[in-house]
Amino acid sequence: MSSTVLNTTDDQSVSHDGNGSPGPPGSEDHGNNESDEMGRLRKLIVKSEGVAEVLPAAVNQTANKDGRLAQATLPIVEENIRQSVARDPKVLAEALFPAIGPAIRKAIAQALSSMVQSFNQTLEYSVSPKGLGWRLEAFRTGKSFGEVVMLKTLLYRVEQVFLIHKETGLLLQHVAADPTDIQDADMVSAMLTAIQDFAHDSFKSTEGATLDSFKVKELSVWIEHSSDAVIAAVIRGTPPLSLNEIFIETIEEIQFRFDSKLSNFEGRTEVFEDTRPILQRCLQYQLDEASSGESRINPTKIGAVILGAVILLGGIYFGWEYWRWNSFVEKLRNEPGIVVAESNFGIFQHTISGLRDPLAIDPVKLQKHSNFDDNDIAGNWKLYNDADPVFVLQRANKVLNPPEGVVLSLNNGVLSAKGIASPEWFSDAAKFAPVLVGVNEFRVDEDEAVRLQKRIDSSRVKFVCNTTEFAEDQQKILDSIASDIEKLVTVAKPKLTINGHASETGGDDINENISKLRAEKTKQELTLRSDGIERSLEEDASFIVLESQGTGQTDRDCKVTFRVLLK
């Protein structure tokens, strides 16, 4: 080959004239020139063939030596691409499609998968039994629901990353979040490769199909491939699918930067020391938001806040309703004539049952007073007679119906009737009263008027016989009678009859007259002694009626007697 090149150099000197330029056609030595021209053409062809033969080897040698060839050809390649796109974009698009198409499809599938996973998680946290369980745990531990969700789900950490040579399964580099907690990384690396080979062979997957991930309890292993290397990331927790993008970028960068070292790998791993900082970027972790001070509004949180508010308001409402119900029940318990046997607080309707005296307050009225509607409470009341003195007395008045002026009272089960009534009424009351609940005995309480009536009726005013003069010491008796009558007119409307008497001596006419005079004199004396008597006479002149009995039986009949009639 080198000889060909040398020949080419020689040809140039031979084919040129003395000035270094070829001679013009049609000159004298035209025959010679034609021959020279043919020779020159032949040599050019030979030269092109020689260059074509050595060019690939020369390019390859230069490319392996340094980057000068790439730098030199870069503007040409860029210009070629630009011109090609400008002329017909389809050509380049069709050429790139086999490479870009699957990449785009993979990116779209990954984005969709990530979105679906996120949507599923939101639904799961909001309404699933697991979500409710977490709410219960948050309530029990005093942590926020968001914090529990983060601890349970979103907290993850990439614990180890293996960079593995794809062909040999040998470990090229290894980084770990916690270097103290790692197994023999090169053996793990080889075993991971064996597992991938096993999976690929066992399931007869298509060429190029690879094991992308597997899960061991809370640990996941995500695997990303390039043409010569594999990244295997061991992740604790539940990472977002978007994390995979970091692994993809990392393996692509390593493949790009260490392409020749990977393809020419002979077992020396030192040359991959520079991949360490690249791999360390994969050691991602996510702090829980509470500790990092970040806050994020998402539908789950909003739902949790609304649910919390509903639960809180519901709790307050039911607490207040419970307090209101208990107050009402307590009020009923304190009400005379009502006995609460059972009360139940219900979500939609409360129930209450017990005994009620017909004379007690109607529970429905009390219920309305406590702002309960008819439908709020279902009451079941049985009637009974309460032994409370108030109800006993009310019941006695209702049953015995005492006439005006008669007052009933109750003391330790003894019902007393006080006042003026017919003997028949007292008789009936004495028979019926003990039948009443709470009445053990019936008594008639003597009236003041009757007491005064009896005292006035039994009074006597003596006169000196054959005269209308009061006997000795009768003034005090007159004073006493006047006082009684005055009291009597204040409590009753009596009719007083003053009856004049005379002794057995003397004629009847005289005795009749003297009797009459004695009655009139007594009336005058009594009137003088009492303003009450005088007022009563002014209102009713017939208040005092005078009668004369005339001749009596003995000298002791020199007197006047009294008879009181109570209306």
């Binding site: 040999t168 023999d184 053996m187 080889a190 075993m191 064996a194 080979d197 096993f198 077992g267 791993t269």
Partner: protein, 165 residues
């Protein structure tokens, strides 16, 4: 540090696992043989003052019911063929495996370990049979997992050849 992938191959029961059990580091259970068909062990040897890490792929023994997965051989820098001196058929199995390796991944440094050499009375593979593979005479090492005879030597010599190749 140099790393090399080495495959331990041979028929079932020839003593591959016994050979490595006493001389290598391992973290995996032997049940991996029966599950995924291979167990990874590690042996570090020193060649010319440089440590060479041999990643030993202890592949499940080949028999009538199981064929070695070619994918387990991919990327290997060398292999050890283990033969049980007390069982004649293990020699032919080893030779067929050797052909399979050559077919799948090409020529690689290797050694044939004639194992169980301590069982002198039970040895069935005769010298003529060994002579039949005389062309590989320099590749044959008699070993005993029980006594440890030549085990370290086999690993060292193979490592040296792999590094040099």
């Amino acid at each position: 540090m140099i790393q090399k992938k080495v495959c331990m191959l041979g028929a079932t029961g020839v003593g591959k696992t016994s050979l490595v059990r006493r001389f290598v580091q391992t973290i995996f259970s032997e049940k991996y043989h029966s599950t995924i068909g291979v167990k990874i062990d590690k042996k570090i040897v020193s060649i010319d003052d440089e440590d060479v890490t041999l990643m030993l792929w202890d592949v499940q023994g080949e028999d009538t019911g199981y064929t070695i997965r070619p994918s387990f051989l991919r990327g290997a820098s060398g292999f050890l063929l283990v033969v049980d001196l007390t069982r004649t058929e293990t020699l032919s199995t080893a030779l067929s495996i050797k052909q399979m390796v050559k077919r799948e991944i090409g020529e690689l440094p290797f050694f044939i370990m004639l194992n169980k050499s301590d069982l002198q009375e039970d040895i069935k593979i005769t010298d003529p049979e060994i002579l039949s593979i005389a062309d590989m005479d320099d590749r044959i090492i008699r070993t005993s997992a029980k006594t440890g005879e030549n085990v370290e030597t086999a690993f060292n010599v193979l490592a040296k050849e792999m590094v040099a190749s």
